[in-house]
Amino acid sequence: MAVLSTPRSAVQLAGQGRPLKEHLFRLMLLASLLIALGVLAVLLVYVVNRGWPRLDARLWENFPSIRRPDSSGVLSGITGTVWVVGLTALFALPTGVLAAVYLEEYADKTKWYNRLIELNISNLAAVPSIVYGILGLGIISRTMGLGPSVLTGALTLTLLVLPIVIIASREAIKAVPPSIREGSLALGATQWQTIWRQVLPASVPGIATGSILALSRAIGEAAPFMLLGAATLVRFNPDGLDSSFSVLPVQIYYLIAQSRPEFHVIAAAAIVILLAILLLMNSVAIWLRNRYQKRW
């Protein structure tokens, strides 16, 4: 590289000897990308291979059992995840989209408080999820008195994914060109009518894509639940907002923590289920983006 820094004479413009170096550089870049993706491939193959013997109905029909690994499953983790993530979607998606609309359509960006909100959101998106667990434990579970319940889990997870939903929705709203808004306003629509009838419908695919990705993050999250009383074997399905619960990733953690190798096989099988759900959601998000994303 040092050779190429400052062309001292015009001769160097001919670029002698460059192709090989250029080629190697390009190959090195591609190799880096492929190493990262190669790890992903090995991981997928390994997990499927390891979990295959237990990838059957026992897994989703039975509750976990420490004494009988043969008939042990992760049913309570699956139902717990459905409850908690379902509620999270219900809370986080509307709130996140509304906040994004405020920041994109109403907020005057020269005002310090709007800049503060903006900076705060990108900051919250990077706060470690275990810290959200502390928030859930200290404020939602203890101070608000909701205890280690499904509602506590869902509210904690809502606060965790909210910044992600807001950031994704803002991108989608930003992509709608101003001419659409100006046209609507010129025809006499109010600002909210413009947003509700023009901007939001046009940004639905982008918002949906972002929302799905945010929820797939929520599905795989385990750390905050470690503090919310979910880190045990749960042998029942949640039956309401105040019910105690566990989620699939925490059940997987619990299985990994067991020393008997049979439980590692069950953990691998449960991971296959988890990854299958996430891959499905990712594919839907990517499909949505490619199918409906308009280039204005």
């Binding site: 590289m1 190429l4 670029g15 250029e22 550089f25 090195m28 870049l29 990308l33 990262a36 993706l37 790890v39 992903l40 991981l43 390994y46 997990v47 709130t95 509304l98 906040a99 109403y106 909100i117 705060n120 990108s122 900051n123 919250l124 990077a126 706060v127 470690p128 275990i130 810290v131 667990g133 502390i134 928030l135 434990l137 200290g138 404020i139 101070t143 606060l159 909210l162 910044p163 306003l185 600002q191 909210w192 990705l213 795989g220 999250e221 385990a222 750390a223 470690m226 503090l227 990733p249 925490v250 997987i252 953690y253 990994i256 590692h264 691998a268 988890l274 996430l278 990712n282 990517i286």
Partner: protein
């Protein structure tokens, strides 16, 4: 919006709105409330951390917390020297960064400067899938696949069953997509005129990438790296599963060691009655972790705002 009260009296008709629209105001207030929830979240985090942390430091002196290297707050007798878990956190973060920065940055240069749109359309979603793998899964992989593999290949390392090395490597893989996608965003924001200028001066593609695009996108790349460091430092499930729970003051990555996040998760999963010193310790370590990551995130977000202002 319609702040200009354009009263064209001559025509007898005012362009200003004839009556206040309360509905619009209500909507705006509602939207603002949704945005303010983020501020409330930050206040909530600080509020949750503050009281137990203050109580903790009433029981344990700051001198003992930062001045000793023996960590066992749940033992009897307890000890509160925080360095072992700080060292473990830093060590795993360093391993992760050594993996993620070269691989992530090279991937970003490839995607931004070399890949055709079609290739990009294939690779970017796959990177997103990698970013979406739950961390407990990486932990399982590190514990049951990477560690045995490393033991096989490098027996002289004397790896323990749980160790910082395998965990750090997987944390590194986990943060590659963050480095790659944020750096790529920054490089894509570099205007084409800079590249064209470089080509016009006779520079090759490699020289243009390394000497023009990367420096021009530098603040964005720094932001990506800092965010990745923050993610690595706060990562919980990989280290809980694969690096273990022992807190002995050691720099050897072959050993089992608990990071700050791992301590919080393990102590939080156990039964610590409210008000006990064990309970308060969770919050004290949480405060330390939060302050460290908060400072990094803040800096990173400011850097992103900066490069956006320059090129957008």
């Amino acid at each position: 919006m319609a702040q200009h009260r354009a009263t064209a009296r001559g025509n007898g008709r005012s362009l200003a709105r004839s009556r206040p629209r309360y509905g619009e105001l209500v909507v705006k207030a509602l939207l603002l409330a949704a945005a303010l929830l983020s501020i409330a979240t930050t206040i909530g985090i600080v509020g949750a951390l503050l009281e137990p942390t203050i109580e903790f430091f009433q029981a344990v002196s700051i001198g003992e917390f930062f001045g000793s290297t023996s960590w066992g707050p749940l033992f009897n007798p307890p000890s509160f020297g925080v360095w072992p878990i700080i060292v473990a956190t830093l060590e795993i973060t360093v391993i992760a960064i050594v993996v993620a920065v070269p691989l992530g940055l090279a991937s970003a240069i490839y995607l931004s400067e070399y890949a055709t749109p079609r290739v990009r359309k294939i690779f970017k979603p796959v990177l997103e899938v990698l970013a979406g793998v739950p961390t407990v899964v990486f932990g399982f992989f590190a514990l049951t696949f990477v560690t045995p593999l490393l033991k096989d290949w490098f027996p002289f390392l004397n790896l323990e069953g749980k160790n910082a090395l395998a965990a750090g490597l997987m944390v590194g893989v986990m943060i590659i997509p963050i480095v790659a996608s944020m750096s790529e965003d920054a490089m894509s924001a570099v205007p084409n005129s800079l590249r064209e200028g470089s080509f016009a001066l006779g520079a090759s593609k490699m020289v243009t990438s390394v000497r023009v695009v990367v420096p021009a996108a530098f603040s964005g790349i720094i932001a990506a790296v800092i965010l990745a460091i923050s993610r690595a430092a706060g990562e919980t499930m990989i280290v809980v599963v694969a690096a273990g729970s022992r807190s002995i003051f050691t720099f050897n990555p072959a050993n089992e060691m608990a990071t700050m996040a791992a301590f919080i998760a393990q102590a939080g999963a156990g039964d610590n009655p409210v008000g006990s010193i064990g309970y308060k310790t969770i919050f004290a370590v949480g405060t330390l972790l939060f302050l460290m990551t908060f400072a990094m995130n803040w800096f990173s977000a400011r850097m992103v705002q900066k490069y956006r202002e320059v090129y957008d």
